[in-house]
């Protein structure tokens, strides 16, 4: 087992100093941000570590872990709303999407007995699944909104021919879903060749047999693929429904003000 302790952690902090020094040398003006990011990451993770230590205690009910999963879903939905604020009711949409993806993926993982259900498996797997689907979820919401805004002429020409809104929107929903899912698919293809993903690296560092670590990693990648496809599809369909009226009109789509 690997235990770097606080001394080891403090030593790796030297690398943050390297980043700060480079920023100063090249006058990037990022010193403050780097220091804040490093401190913030440490504080957040230490806090999470503390909570996990409590949750993983066998004496603590697994209901608390489920509550933690719900909290992660809510936080993910908040993040999606912050990054795609122009989409009407995107919060409830993201909440639904992550909820359904959780049911599907956790249902397979635990329902079919791939992993034994306890806090030690539930929290990390749900975290990986939600965290890794978030980018694709934001991407599909933004992309579909942009497609329907930029191609309003085309969409309305389709409506004017008597196409129902679901059909008129279909090519643009397809484009948005493809765009949002492609990076995840590319990552899946390149895994192992280009980079060693986090779950596997962590397990190997922690002393797990590399082959066992690889099996877990492959399973995790499948989970992420499945959940990203689920969340993007739910959000894609949801955004389409929210941007059209019941009587098949495309609502106004003002230019979004976005923070990156």
């Amino acid at each position: 087992m690997t235990d770097i302790g606080f001394v080891g952690l403090a030593i790796t902090g030297l690398l943050v100093l390297v980043a700060i020094a480079l920023s100063l040398w090249r006058q990037l003006g990022l010193e403050g941000t780097i220091a804040w990011a490093a401190v913030r990451a440490a504080a957040q993770l230490l806090a999470v570590g503390g909570v996990l230590t409590v949750l993983l205690d066998p004496a603590v009910s697994i209901l608390w872990s489920w509550l933690w999963v719900v909290a992660m879903i809510v936080f993910a939905a908040v993040t999606v709303r912050r990054r795609a604020p122009e989409v009407p009711q995107v919060f409830s949409l993201a909440l639904t999407a992550f909820g359904i993806a959780s049911l599907v993926t956790l249902g397979v993982l635990f329902g079919l007995g791939v992993f034994e259900l306890d806090a030690r498996t539930l929290i990390p797997l749900a975290g990986l699944m939600i965290g890794n689907s978030m980018t694709a979820t934001v991407l599909v919401a933004r992309r579909l909104y942009d497609e329907l805004r930029d191609k309003r002429d085309e969409v309305e020409a389709r409506l004017a021919l008597g196409q129902p809104s679901t059909e008129a929107a279909r090519p643009y929903v397809r484009n948005a879903l493809r765009t949002a899912l492609t990076p995840q698919i590319e990552t899946t293809k390149a895994v192992g060749l280009v980079f060693l993903p986090g779950a596997m690296t962590g397990l190997i560092l922690a002393g797990v047999d590399p082959f066992d670590a690889v099996l877990v990693q492959i399973a995790v990648m499948y989970v992420v693929l499945g959940s990203a496809a689920t969340t993007t599809t739910v959000v894609g369909i949801g955004v389409q429904r929210r941007l059209f009226t019941r009587d098949h009109r495309l609502l106004p789509t003002p230019s979004p003000k976005r923070q990156e």
Binding site: A157, L159, L161, R249
Partner: protein, 201 residues
């Protein structure tokens, strides 16, 4: 229908095709309140062609099939001939067409639904003079064949060439409605000033 830009001509057409709904008042088609009609069915009865050509990705055939999924090659060729294009166009990439060709495909696409009325929103504003003439002839031909065309234009010469009845829209109001011939003499002062101003530019 003529009027200065921003006067509400396009909005009026969009109301007729139900791409927009009125905040107040009622739009009727053949006596029926549009709000009481199925919008999808209404849009096929009241076809609309837009200012900028809007070819969809895919072939011309696929464009026509958006209007009528079961459209066969024979019917597609007929639809194209109706707008003065040869049947050979069916396999062309709709996005590769010239502006005038694309606009004619858009009209053909609308006609595939057999509309009872056709709304034309400045359809010649982004095409070359020969395509303009072709589209004008098509519009006149439709009207002669008993399909009324509501044609929006800012080109008064075009209005004089095409119109049987003229609506003048200024600031969101129809300020004049009547025969085209008597326009210059019978119309109220505001309309004549608008016409004179437009012709001067």
């Amino acid at each position: 229908m003529v009027g200065p830009s921003g006067s509400g001509k396009s909005t009026l057409l969009r109301l007729c095709n139900r791409l927009e709904v009125p905040e107040a008042g009622v739009v009727r088609f053949r006596g029926d309140d549009l709000a009481s009609l199925d919008p999808l069915h209404l849009r096929r009865r009241v076809g609309m062609v837009f200012q900028r050509p809007t070819p969809f990705a895919g072939t011309v055939r696929e464009n026509l099939q958006v209007a009528e999924p079961a459209l066969g090659d024979g019917a597609a060729a007929q639809a194209l001939e109706r707008v003065g294009l040869s049947g050979g166009f069916v396999d062309r990439d709709a996005r590769e067409l010239s502006g005038g060709e694309a606009q004619r495909v858009c009209l053909a696409r609308t006609l595939v639904t057999n509309p009872e009325v056709v709304l034309m929103d400045e359809v010649t504003s982004s095409v070359d003079p020969s395509a303009t003439r072709a589209l004008e002839e098509l519009g006149a031909g439709l009207a002669a064949a008993g399909v009324p065309v509501l044609w929006v234009t800012h080109d008064l010469q075009q209005m004089l060439r095409l119109a049987d009845h003229v609506l003048v829209v200024i600031d969101g109001k129809i300020v004049h409605a009547g025969g085209a011939a008597a326009l210059e003499t019978d119309a109220p002062g505001v309309v004549r000033r608008f016409l004179a101003g437009e012709e001067a530019t």
